[in-house]
């Protein structure tokens, strides 16, 4: 493991490496994003009114089952969505703060990614926002060496670098993710699954982007390799200060990794909270059920139930709250009205955080029903627990 590597700036400027000084500032704000597959009557609403804020230096986890719209959300936000996917509304604000690694024509200030033309998008991709795909074997070109593919990225975005400089930088990048430099000449099929995924991460970080989006980057890997890559990722995040959107179905993994977690169900965000709060004190019945679908590694072995039923088909989403047919606490209004994602508290917050949110009628202040006990556990992030407040 090449611990403690500091990546030297490629640009031969004043030698000033910009270190993240604005941790916690929003870098990517997704507002009211809606995505459909298909048009008109036939359209399937894959993402409905998604609001998410990605902050500098933080890992935001996006959890959901297959078909929940989590990947669609990420691809739409980065304008990588393919036909028949259509973005039908919303905005994706990118607050750029170019660092020393950014190219000469780097964008500064804020822009709505959904409004940018192809040329502007091309400048931002890789250099400011990069995506690490799930299947490294499919995402890498099988007939080009790893080194060649990293060089391609550098060639397109760093025209000032000559070939020797590109090779030096590619070697540096591979070593940064724990692959020896002599692997530059290897083809993807000559690398193990873990090494391919590391190479993908190296490529994603090649231009020190401000935002890295990772779509199930470790799902196909064995646990030991997965753990090694996650360690690497956290170290690089601390070192380079990028913000990461980490998409996975493995909520138990996210709780260990992410600063904040958003849970998606049937195209909608149903809960968002700090990972410790989400784990210790879930507020949405789906989050609670999901957490109880992962058997614990310690303690007494007892029967667990998971969640009854199965995730809905997006072509026929249940009315009202999409989760109500599987929900143990469903009330009459749940099958009629769609609950909005609303903040749970309004108190003052430390910099770089937002109040936890939930989309569930159980937590509606006007609701006469008491909140079920398991959905009302004291939040570890709260200074005063609800019980103490009552007392």
């Amino acid at each position: 493991m090449s611990a403690g590597h500091v990546v030297a700036p490629v640009t031969a400027g004043d030698g000033e490496v910009s270190r993240p000084a604005h941790q916690g500032d929003p870098v990517l704000e997704i507002r009211g994003l809606c995505v459909d597959y298909g048009w008109g009557e036939e359209a399937v609403h894959a993402v409905v009114d998604a609001n998410l804020t990605l902050r500098r230096g933080q890992v935001l986890g996006l959890a959901g089952e297959s078909g929940s719209g989590k990947s669609t959300l990420a691809y739409a936000a980065t304008r990588l969505l393919r036909e028949p996917g259509v973005i039908t509304g919303g905005e994706v604000l990118f607050h750029s703060r170019p660092n020393a690694q950014s190219g000469p024509d780097a964008m500064a200030g804020s822009a709505d990614l959904l409004d940018l033309n192809e040329g502007d998008l091309q400048r931002i991709r890789w250099s400011e926002i990069s995506v690490v795909m799930q299947s490294a074997l499919n995402a890498l070109n099988p007939v080009a060496t790893i080194g060649h593919q990293i060089e391609d990225v550098l060639k397109a975005h760093r025209p000032d670098l000559n070939r020797a400089g590109r090779i030096r930088r590619a070697t540096e990048l591979l070593e940064m993710v724990g692959i020896t430099g002599d692997r530059l000449g290897s083809y993807p099929h000559e690398l193990s699954g873990g090494m391919r995924q590391r190479a993908m991460i190296a490529m994603g970080l090649a231009l020190e982007p401000q935002v890295v989006i990772m779509d199930e980057p470790t799902t196909a890997l064995d646990v030991v390799t997965q753990r090694e890559i996650l360690e690497e990722l956290v170290r690089l995040r601390d070192e380079l200060g990028f913000a990461a959107l980490f998409i996975t179905h493995d909520l138990s993994l996210l709780i260990e990794l992410a600063d904040e977690i958003a849970v998606m169900y049937a195209g909608r965000l149903v809960e968002r909270a700090g990972s410790e709060s989400l784990f210790r004190a879930p507020r949405h019945p789906y989050t609670y059920g999901l957490l109880n679908s992962f058997p614990p590694m310690h303690g007494e072995r007892k029967a667990m139930t998971g969640i009854a039923g199965s995730p809905p088909d997006l072509r026929s989403i249940p009315s009202g709250c999409a989760f109500h047919p599987r929900c143990l606490h469903a009330m009459d209004r749940c099958s009629v009205d769609v609950p909005e994602l609303v903040p749970l508290s309004t108190g003052p917050l430390p910099h770089g955080s937002s109040p936890r949110e939930v989309a569930c009628w159980l937590h509606d202040p006007q609701s006469a029903e008491p909140v079920p006990e398991e959905l009302n556990q004291p939040d570890p992030a709260d200074p005063v627990s609800p019980e103490e407040e009552k007392a």
Partner: protein, 364 residues
């Protein structure tokens, strides 16, 4: 959940070994040592989990038990009777031992209905007693596809992943087997419906007194479902124990590594991995213990001799020299592995090092 594993084994594997011979282009023939000398018992009314990474040989083992793959050597015993290694009497055997595969999207034929999938084994194994529909209905009820009429004429694409896997299990149950081999039965399913299928397997263990083999890479689900867990590494069985004991006090350094790497939200701080790297090539596996190149506790003897299977406590055994008694000082000399000694020792302390004094009595 039953904690005791006392019943006599229905199916027993003794010293199963599988070597695959491969030839690539003009290169000389090489041998993949996929499974080496694995012995395993599957008692009635119990779930035995086989845990390991990809390439550890766990699926090859399940397929040998299902007699889809013929072992290179070793023997199978069904009810204490030796099963001939050849393909003779294959059907009689498959009437007793059934295999459920990982991917219910691939293991069901997309052009046939649920009815067809259930009719085939019933007819081939003459299980009908005239009332074909009644038998099929009770099968679907057993896997909680209720009411059966809603599912019997569906095609695989009309069912969800969980429902498909239930049909695959119903098909395996059609012949009224005594042994059910499940190879990663839930890993392709959505998280929220995995437990439902695991609970179904637990149910079948109680109600049908099945001997179940649960092959998985997910040690947490093995702990949840299984009575006993065996851990495989690079084709070899490295540890075997009642499931809670294995996860609470692992004796083999590889098991400790696996447990420290597994996601665990309740963990107070990030784990430290002792024994990084990847499993070895099975074409030329390392001599001695196959884990020794990665092992933070490796000694001189680990490089030279295969470790004995040592009983750590009743029902708990590990194939590791650390638990063997009477090692000479030369044998016990630590190997200078690539891992720096400092962090390795530190990590060992964190993961509870195997104590060399824990009543080391050799088994067998």
């Amino acid at each position: 959940m039953t904690e005791t594993v006392t019943a006599a084994p229905v199916l027993e594997a003794r010293n199963l070994t599988k070597h695959f011979h491969v030839r690539r282009g003009l290169r000389p023939r090489s041998t993949v040592h996929a499974v080496e000398n694995v012995s395993l018992t599957l008692p009635r009314s119990a779930v035995t989990a086989v845990v390991g990474e990809s390439g550890s040989g766990k699926s090859t083992l399940a397929r040998m038990l299902a007699r889809i793959i013929t072992p290179t050597s070793g023997e199978l015993l069904l009810d204490g009777q030796q099963v001939p290694i050849g393909q003779r009497k294959r059907q009689e055997y498959s009437g007793r031992v059934q295999l459920v595969l990982q991917d219910p999207f691939a293991s069901l034929n997309p052009v046939h209905s649920v009815r067809y999938h259930l009719t085939r084994p019933l007819k081939i194994h003459h299980m009908t007693d005239g009332d074909l529909d009644g038998t099929m209905e009770s099968l679907l009820r057993r896997v909680a596809l209720d009411p059966p009429a809603r599912f019997i004429d569906k095609y695989p694409h009309e069912l969800s992943g969980g429902q498909r896997q239930r049909v695959a299990i119903a098909r395996a149950l059609a012949v009224q087997p005594d042994v059910l081999l499940a190879d990663e039965p839930v890993s392709m399913l959505d998280v929220s419906i995995r437990l439902g299928v695991l609970n179904l397997l637990a149910d079948l263990r109680e109600k049908s007194q099945l001997a179940i083999l649960y092959v998985t890479h997910d040690i947490a689900s093995a702990r949840y479902l299984a009575d006993k867990i065996v851990v495989m590494y690079a084709g070899e069985l490295v540890e075997e124990a009642p499931s809670a004991e294995l996860t609470d006090s692992p004796a083999h350094p590889y098991t400790q590594l696996l447990l420290s790497a597994a996601p665990d939200p309740a963990r107070p701080e990030p784990p430290s991995l002792a024994g990084r790297g990847a499993p070895p090539s099975l074409v030329s596996p390392p001599p001695g213990c196959r884990f020794h190149p990665r092992c933070p506790h490796a000694m001189a003897v680990c490089r030279e001799q295969r470790p004995p299977t040592v009983a750590v406590s009743p029902g708990h055994s590990a194939a590791c020299w650390l638990h063997a008694s009477d090692l000479s000082p030369a044998q016990a000399k630590p190997l200078s592995v690539q891992a720096k000694p400092g962090p390795a020792k530190q990590a060992a302390g964190a993961v509870k090092p195997p104590s060399r004094t824990a009543e080391p009595s050799k088994e067998g």
